[in-house]
């Protein structure tokens, strides 16, 4: 049985690197990423599970880091936007008007990245189901949908 008192030393594997940190057991993963590790890509917006601006990948699955405790995810693989480099989805967002103010973008990109990995050939219904987890107040979503399609095309062409 594992037990942590109010303050605990844990080790987190973020973007492929192990880090030992002192955290409060009540600290959310989002708070630890932003305030202890300086990884501010994930945003603290609603902190209520509604908006998806805090999305990170946990063992390849998108999760909302505002509703997870850091102590829960010890030893698991966490990917934040800072760990994503030169991917098709990032390029597609740049080239297809996938963002305007950019506040929601890290969450959308990570969610879309996980979607492309899990379902390289997903239909529109699956795309919609996944992307509905994130809210964008600027783009009207068309640029985001276009970016996802473009990234899928780039990936398909790359693997031919």
């Amino acid at each position: 049985m594992i037990m942590y008192h109010e303050i605990a030393e844990i080790s987190l594997r973020v973007n492929g690197e192990n880090r030992r940190l002192w955290v409060r057991a009540a600290d959310t993963l989002l708070a630890v990423l932003r305030n202890h590790m300086g990884l501010t890509g994930g945003k603290a917006a609603c902190e209520n599970g509604d908006c998806g601006a805090c999305t990170v990948l946990l063992e390849d699955r998108p999760v909302k880091a505002c509703l997870i405790l850091a102590v829960e995810v010890e030893g698991m693989d966490i990917l934040t936007i800072e760990g994503l480099k030169q991917t098709e989805i990032q390029r597609a967002f740049l080239e297809n008007g996938g963002f305007q103010c950019g506040y929601c973008t890290p969450g959308f990109i990570l969610n879309a990245y996980a979607l492309l990995k899990a379902h390289p050939e997903a239909d529109d219904e699956t795309d919609k189901e996944w992307l509905q987890s994130n809210i964008c107040r600027c783009t009207g979503y068309e640029g985001i949908k276009r970016s996802l399609k473009a990234a899928r095309k780039m990936m398909a062409e790359g693997s031919e």
């Binding site: 049985m1 942590y4 829960e72």
Partner: protein, 275 residues
């Protein structure tokens, strides 16, 4: 940010979880089982819930299994909704769970956490009400098995410190026809202002969420559904059997909800009768 502190423990067996709960409750006032954490953390941020100790049940293999055993399928209480959806063991479960929250949240929300949620919706209970599900509950005196419908009355009637371990459903429900009607105020991802599930197997059965302050089903409503009366008469009779006052809130007036409910019963009934 959560502005108060708590201890966190992660037991690896059901016995450890229950005995920790009992022992810690002697010292601390507020001990909570913790599953997906989505409700506990969002409530904690607003001080709608406070805890001295939380007991995370996700490392307990019994609470994490999805297993076929004889003629039943067993779903551990700490399985996430997406883990159950992806296995697609029973189409009814898959369909209902896909309507709950959003895809990313369903990677954390668990079956047990939804059943024990303090909010009024608890949509995961609807298929359990319709499929004669059984549950196992662990407490001070060991593990007991209960019929879901005999222990769920507005909420799950378990004692303080009892842990929902798993849910099991007979495999024969796999082929049963069903109709889901879920209405939200705006968009697609939201709590329902009405959710009706109707199942056809040896007659029709219905279960509801979003209509009252709790999810419900009733033998009397099921009897009317199978009474072979004129459909308008049937709907009026059902309206008189709703076990409470239809909700009115900022998302829908009671009048609008009642209209949606009548329409939903008509569509589901027609759909399943034709089948």
């Amino acid at each position: 940010m959560i502005s108060f502190n708590f201890k966190y423990i992660r037991p690896s067996t059901v016995e450890e979880a229950v005995s920790s709960y009992i022992q810690l409750s002697r010292v601390y006032k507020r001990v909570l089982y913790y599953s997906g954490g989505t409700e506990i953390l969002s409530f904690a941020r607003n001080h709608a819930i406070e805890a001295d100790v939380i007991i995370d049940i996700k490392a307990i293999p019994e609470c994490r299994r999805l297993q076929h055993h004889q003629n039943r399928i067993i779903y551990g209480a700490a399985l996430t909704l997406n883990e159950i959806i992806e296995e697609n063991t029973l189409p009814l479960l898959t369909s209902v769970f896909k309507g709950i929250a959003d895809h990313t949240l369903r990677n954390r929300i668990t079956l047990g956490g939804n059943i024990c949620s303090k909010l009024i919706y608890r949509e995961a209970v609807l298929p359990l009400m319709l499929t004669e599900a059984e549950i196992r509950i662990a407490g001070e005196n060991g593990v007991r098995r209960e019929k879901f419908n005999s222990i769920f009355d507005k909420s799950l009637r378990i004692e303080k410190g009892e842990l929902l371990v798993d849910v099991s459903i007979d495999k024969s429900f796999e082929g049963a026809g069903f109709c889901s009607i879920r209405k939200v105020n705006r968009g697609e991802v939201d709590y329902p202002i009405l959710h009706l599930e109707m199942l056809k197997r040896k007659g029709l059965k219905a279960a509801f969420s979003g209509v009252l302050n709790f999810p419900f089903r009733s033998d009397a409503i099921d009897a009317v559904l199978n009474d072979n009366v004129d459909i308008d008469e049937m709907i009026e009779k059902i309206m008189h059997l709703i076990p409470g006052k239809i909700k009115q809130d900022q998302w829908a007036t009671w009048h609008y909800r009642q209209m949606l409910l009548k329409k939903a019963i008509r569509s589901a009934y027609t759909h399943l009768e034709v089948r």
